[in-house]
């Protein structure tokens, strides 16, 4: 028996499905998809409808809790006439810029520090208590410090976002580096990998699943950092918009701002999932969105 023919036997192929069975499967899947979508719409309708109804009937005070129609109206005026701070897209753009910059800076520093300390036991032993202490501080308060030291412009928000992102990415990168399969490391070293090659070709790719898993959480944290930074003092941004609405006792404005942030976060989440599937092509099961 030749090697080749033996191999062909080894590659398992699923038995060809009966065409009818396959069609039936497809129909079932479509039906299920439709059911899920319909139930989602229903859930949203019940939620928003009961909110609208109870506030309209004054069972719940719309002054404090807003109402869906009011939120929609507020959003509409923001889009058509702009906000008190300027055009709406500009507020979103400012917050996005702060978020993305903070996310990128925090992620880069987190990976760098995680790999460095993960690879060097001496360094990690020395710095462990400092990192634990720094991590136990509620870091959003650092935003106040940054507002003083870096001013009310972009930098203080980026710093706040980056600090929040850093620790999450750092801990994951660190753990990822520590969990690298020892056999893989031994194999690479025997194959002739030096320290640098070992880091770039074995340690980093191996830790990548851990790091990317942390990005899902940390983008949300970057958004929190940017918005909280704006609350500490800013002239523009969605956080400032919410802060403004709050000062005018405009509950609908606060909710509209929240809806904007949620939309931004959902889009970012989809982008990160796409990035994940691209970077970790080699993994057996591609990541699917929980909402998909």
């Amino acid at each position: 028996m030749s090697v080749r023919s033996a191999l062909v036997e080894q590659v398992a192929k699923p038995a060809p499905l009966n065409a009818d069975l396959a069609a039936e499967r497809r129909r079932q899947r479509r039906r299920r998809q439709f059911m899920v979508q319909a139930l989602r719409l229903l859930a949203a309708a019940v939620w928003l409808g009961s909110w609208e109804l109870t506030t309209r009937l004054n069972m719940v005070d719309p002054f404090f809790f807003g109402m869906p129609s009011g939120i929609a109206r507020r959003m509409y005026t923001w889009i058509t006439e702009g906000t008190a701070l300027g055009p709406l897209w500009q507020q979103v753009a400012v917050t996005m810029e702060e978020t993305v910059l903070g996310f990128v800076v925090g992620t880069a520093l987190g990976i760098l520090a995680g790999v460095l300390l993960g690879r060097n036991r001496m360094l990690s032993d020395v710095f462990a208590p400092f990192i634990k202490a720094a991590n136990s501080i509620p870091r959003v308060v650092l935003g106040a410090l940054f507002a003083i030291s870096l001013g009310l412009d972009l930098r203080s928000k980026v710093a706040t976002a980056a600090v929040l992102v850093f620790f999450v990415v750092f801990f994951n990168a660190f753990q990822g580096v520590r969990e690298v399969d020892r056999n893989l490391v031994a194999n690479a070293r025997i194959l002739g990998a030096g320290s640098r090659r070992l880091t770039t070709e074995v340690i980093l790719p191996s830790a990548l699943s851990w790091i990317i898993a942390s990005l899902h959480i940390s983008f949300g944290l970057a958004l929190i950092g940017a918005v909280v930074g704006e609350l500490w003092g800013a002239t523009q941004g969605v956080g400032e918009l919410i802060y403004n609405a709050e000062h005018n006792f405009d509950a609908n404005g606060v909710f509209a701002g929240m809806a904007l942030l949620a939309a931004v976060a959902l889009v970012a989440e989809a982008l990160i999932t796409a990035l994940e599937n691209r970077l970790i092509r080699w993994r057996p099961n591609p990541v699917t969105d929980v909402t998909a």
Partner: protein, 266 residues
């Protein structure tokens, strides 16, 4: 002629997490001639894998000396190939990337490494699978990748740690024949660790039997079976049966000792 591998009075102790000391190998003497295929059998926990780690330079000896190519081993040296028991191919690299890894790590230009890798992929019968990732391959195919990955570096010493123990019986026999034909085209010395005496005799020029831990050599048997061998048929030959009987009486006692210990520990 100087031996390719020589272990002299080698002892290896490990610190256990409980603060004690565990002796894996005790006064081990062993030699492998250039181009010799040598198999090591012994009961579970007799220090077979540890022996390989010492030869590869992955672990330092506690006492004694390990010499490879007539030089004392002080760390990971060039010219050594190692096929691990578990999958040690890189899951994020394609078959091509995995096989080309050795030359790339050593600084061979990409194009040249690629050509050599393609050649080795063909030699282990994986042409057409260059772009697959390990998780898309069967266990036997992943072993072929691991073999090509080691052999592309043209090692003078090939260390194999129960490489086929996770494969089903048919695939295993196939891979054993495959290994023999690949090896016969090289001049590499092989140390092949296994717990399967049949596998050891089918493949090797010499079989070392280790005692139950702490491991040391209980016996060394030359295997005078002719080459080329067909692993799936050689076990039916009378000479094979005789050799098997002889070694098994040695091995049986050690397996018994190891088994009794496990029962007590359990």
């Amino acid at each position: 002629m100087a031996p390719a591998i020589e272990l002299r009075d080698v002892t290896k102790r490990f610190a256990t997490p409980g603060g004690g000391v565990y002796t894996a190998l005790h006064d081990l003497d062993m030699r492998v001639d250039p181009g010799e295929f040598c198999a090591v059998v012994g009961p579970t926990g007799c220090g077979k894998s540890t022996t390989l780690a010492l030869i590869a330079g992955l672990e330092p000896v506690s006492a004694g000396e390990v010499r490879v190519m007539n030089r004392p081993v002080t760390g990971i040296e060039e010219g050594i190939g190692y096929v691990f028991q578990t999958d040690a191919v890189f899951p994020w690299k394609s078959v091509l990337g995995n096989v080309a890894a050795g030359p790339r790590f050593q600084g061979t230009p990409g194009r040249q490494a690629r050509e050599r890798a393609l050649d080795w992929i063909a030699r282990v019968g994986l042409s057409g699978f260059e772009d697959r990732y390990p998780h898309q391959l069967s266990g036997g195919m992943r072993k072929r990748v691991a073999l090509a990955q080691s052999l592309i570096n043209e090692p003078r010493i090939l260390l194999m740690d129960e490489p086929f123990s996770a494969l089903d019986v048919q695939t295993r026999t196939l891979m054993e024949n495959e290994l023999l034909s690949l090896w016969s085209a090289t001049s590499a010395s092989v140390v092949f660790v296994t717990h399967d005496l049949e596998e050891a005799i089918s493949l090797a020029d010499r079989v070392y039997v280790f005692t139950a831990g702490p491991g040391t050599v209980k016996g060394s048997y030359p295997i005078a079976l002719l080459r080329p061998r067909n692993v799936s048929e050689i076990r039916f030959e009378p000479q094979f049966q005789r050799i098997y009987q002889e070694i098994w009486t040695d091995l049986r006692d050690e397996v018994q000792v190891s088994y009794e210990r496990q029962k007590r520990a359990g």
